[in-house]
């Protein structure tokens, strides 16, 4: 109940997905001044990581022009006017001054994997490679006591300055003791609280870290929740999706580098620049939706003609994310482009409520009482039948035993 009240209060204070992109010259001038000052400050700081964006780009055979093209796209994505492009480029260069501690909790490491494993990494992914990852359970060579020491040292050195990136949900239910970390067997919850205590802000990456994701799916055996449910006294930026789009992670970190602040968030704590779009409104199959042309089964004539995937369970109409615009892998493609409906991976409770291959109207849903699973129509027809039987009985008794006014 308390949670619901809190969510309600949040909704009333959020201003929808809208970002004002026309704030007048004076606003942008002062913003630019502020960013310039901050970047100079960061530049003067020693770079914590040994790799630079320049060397990484060169190793991948990318030149300055590719990099500037990326910078202007990133500027547009952050909804800044074009004259900010050099600043965004600069921010990418000094990004390795912002220390990051990356925690891996209850998850499949899919977000790290998505960033690290691509065979032709995008500039977004390369930038994530050069950020100063002070600690990352998946990547680092150290283990056991050594790793713990390393973490403590990083937390002390960068106290109050580091970004804590979290991947994976936090079990807080009866199953929480199944998930411990390190030589002292800290639970994930304690581990997160400890690391969060010295962070400037937290970035929850992927749907598990934001809303609990797959581990939180019914019956949620470990009582999995997202970072925002555990950490209440620090800014938490949510970057859901499964996996989170590297462009959105980079965009958020860039924003933090540029301003030292959290970007404008929607009512679910997601950056508006990334989650202010509805999949359905930017989908290339939308004309087929409006026309009523749907894929009826996998591989049918409709599928061959790229018809709308609504009847195959596409949840684009209820999902907010920018993958229909920025897409994945250097904008090569995205799930709907590849022929599968959206499963709403950036929405809360997506595994239970969105991720099925049929429209909501045909999905078996748990009754509010937690009992049998029925489709809404099965439930509704049951209701109509019950009402029909009730009326029938009343009518029959009325006929047999009722008293008409006319009868004496």
């Amino acid at each position: 109940m308390g949670d619901r009240r809190e969510a309600l209060a949040k909704m009333f204070t959020a201003k929808g997905g809208r970002v004002n992109t026309n704030r007048g010259q004076a606003y942008y001038d002062s913003l630019m001044d502020m960013m310039n000052r901050r970047l100079l400050e960061l530049e003067a700081m020693p770079s914590a990581s040994r790799t630079s964006i320049k060397s990484v780009l060169e190793a991948e055979g990318l030149n300055r022009r590719d990099f500037m093209k990326w910078a202007s796209a990133a500027t547009a994505m952050l909804m800044l006017p074009a004259q900010f492009t050099p600043l965004v480029a600069k921010a990418a260069e000094v990004m390795n001054r912002v220390p990051i501690i990356w925690l891996e909790l209850q998850d499949c490491a899919g977000n790290s994997e998505a960033i690290l494993r691509s065979d032709a990494p995008t500039i977004d992914e390369l930038i994530l490679e050069v950020v100063s990852l002070e600690f990352n359970e998946t990547l680092m060579a150290a283990a056991g006591h050594q790793a713990e020491e390393h973490l403590e040292e990083a937390m002390k050195t960068f106290n109050g300055k580091y970004l804590c990136v979290v991947e994976g949900s936090i079990p807080v239910g009866t199953g929480k003791e199944w998930c411990t970390i390190g030589a002292r067997a800290e639970t994930f919850e304690d581990h997160l609280r400890h690391v969060a205590s010295g962070a400037a802000a937290l970035v929850a990456v992927g749907t598990c870290a934001t809303f609990g994701g797959v581990p939180a799916a019914a019956p949620n055996p470990t009582g999995a929740v997202g970072v925002q449910d555990v950490i209440k006294n620090k800014p938490v930026i949510n970057i859901p999706a499964c996996p989170a789009n590297p462009a959105n992670i980079t965009g958020t970190i860039l924003h933090f580098v540029l301003t030292g602040q959290v970007p404008e968030l929607d009512h679910l704590g997601r950056p508006k620049f990334a989650f202010g779009y509805r999949i359905h409104d930017n989908c290339e199959r939308r004309a087929h939706f409006d026309a009523g042309e749907f894929v009826e089964e996998w591989g049918d004539e409709g599928a061959k003609n790229n018809f709308c995937l609504y009847k195959m369970g596409c949840k684009g109409p209820m999902t907010f994310n920018n993958c229909s615009i920025v897409r994945y892998n250097e904008a090569v493609n995205w799930p709907i482009g590849a022929g599968h409906g959206c499963i709403g991976c950036s929405e809360p409770q997506f595994w239970d409520k969105y991720a099925y291959e049929r429209p909501m109207a045909d999905a078996r849903i748990k009754a509010p009482t937690g009992g049998v699973e029925k489709t809404v129509d099965e439930f509704g027809l049951g209701l109509l039948t019950a009402a029909g039987i009730g009326i029938g009985i009343h009518a029959a008794i009325s006929m047999a035993a009722g008293k008409k006014e006319g009868d004496a």
């Binding site: 619901r4 969510a7 309600l8 909704m11 009333f12 201003k15 929808g16 997905g17 809208r18 009512h267 202010g276 779009y277 509805r278 359905h280 409104d281 004309a287 087929h288 939706f289 409006d290 026309a291 009523g292 042309e293 749907f294 004539e301 409709g302 609504y310 009847k311 949840k315 109409p317 209820m318 907010f320 929405e347 809360p348 409770q349 409520k353 969105y354 429209p359 909501m360 109207a361 045909d362 849903i365 809404v376 129509d377 439930f379 509704g380 027809l381 209701l383 109509l384 009402a387 009326i391 009343h394 009518a395 008794i397 009325s398 035993a401 009722g402 008293k403 008409k404 006014e405 006319g406």
Partner: protein, 231 residues
């Protein structure tokens, strides 16, 4: 036995009734299509020529808008009608509560007891219709929440105030339904069945009253009046 004609619904109220009834059917037929498109568009035509889903959604919204206007008018009439002011029958005064139960007993005793005056609208009827208006209001709020999802950019042809107002007026439905947009959709769809059940009972009760009270109640919604016995 002498009968007296009593006026029960003005012409305007009757028109409103039938407009709502037609909208209801239109909303159900198109709503079910939106939820699960149950007929196929001809594949041979190019997409720009047909717009089957778009028309269904359009009719759904138009039915919804007419509903909107009608419920605002009905809400107004609750208080300011120069005819019968329904809110007077809704207030839980001892007299109204008494009347509510008398009419209810009449129904469940199959008209063997009838201890109230059936010439004017009664409290049972007022409560029954109030339930309908609540259901309608709920459809409006949940439907407008689904609608505002399409205005994520915060703009509309009539200005930014429209989506902003819709968010303010309907965002609570997400929290009430269970926290996700999908929950609103589930509840919007499920509530349709509550409304259909209401309509079934409503139609049955009107026919039942006509047969057992013998006062021509069914004529109210057509000619505006019914007949009551004089003494």
């Amino acid at each position: 036995m002498a009968y007296k004609r009593v006026e029960r619904m003005t012409a305007f109220m009757r028109i409103n009734h039938w407009v709502v009834a037609i909208c209801m059917v239109a909303a159900v037929v198109t709503g079910l299509y939106i939820g699960h498109p149950y007929y196929q568009s001809l594949i041979a035509d190019p997409a720009v020529d047909k717009y089957v889903m778009a028309w269904n959604r359009w009719i759904h919204f138009i039915a919804a808008i007419i509903f909107d206007v009608s419920s605002i008018v009905v809400a107004y009439l609750y208080f300011f009608s120069r005819f019968e002011k329904p809110y007077k029958k809704l207030l839980p005064t001892p007299k109204n509560i008494m009347e509510f139960f008398l009419v209810f007993f009449n129904l469940i005793t199959f008209n063997r007891t009838k201890g109230f005056d059936s010439s004017h609208g009664d409290s049972f009827n007022a409560v029954f219709f109030f339930v309908f208006h609540l259901l309608l209001a709920w459809m409006l709020f949940s439907g407008l929440q689904l609608y505002v999802h399409g205005l994520a950019h915060g703009q509309s042809s009539i200005g930014t105030w429209w989506p902003a107002m819709l968010h303010l007026a309907t965002d609570w439905t997400v929290v009430v339904c269970g926290g996700t947009y999908m929950d609103v959709r589930i509840w919007h769809h499920m509530s349709m069945y509550f409304i259909i059940v209401w309509v079934m009972i409503h139609v049955y009760y009107q026919i039942w009253r006509t047969i057992f009270w013998q006062e021509g109640d069914i004529g109210i919604v057509i000619g505006g009046s019914k007949f009551v016995k004089e003494n």
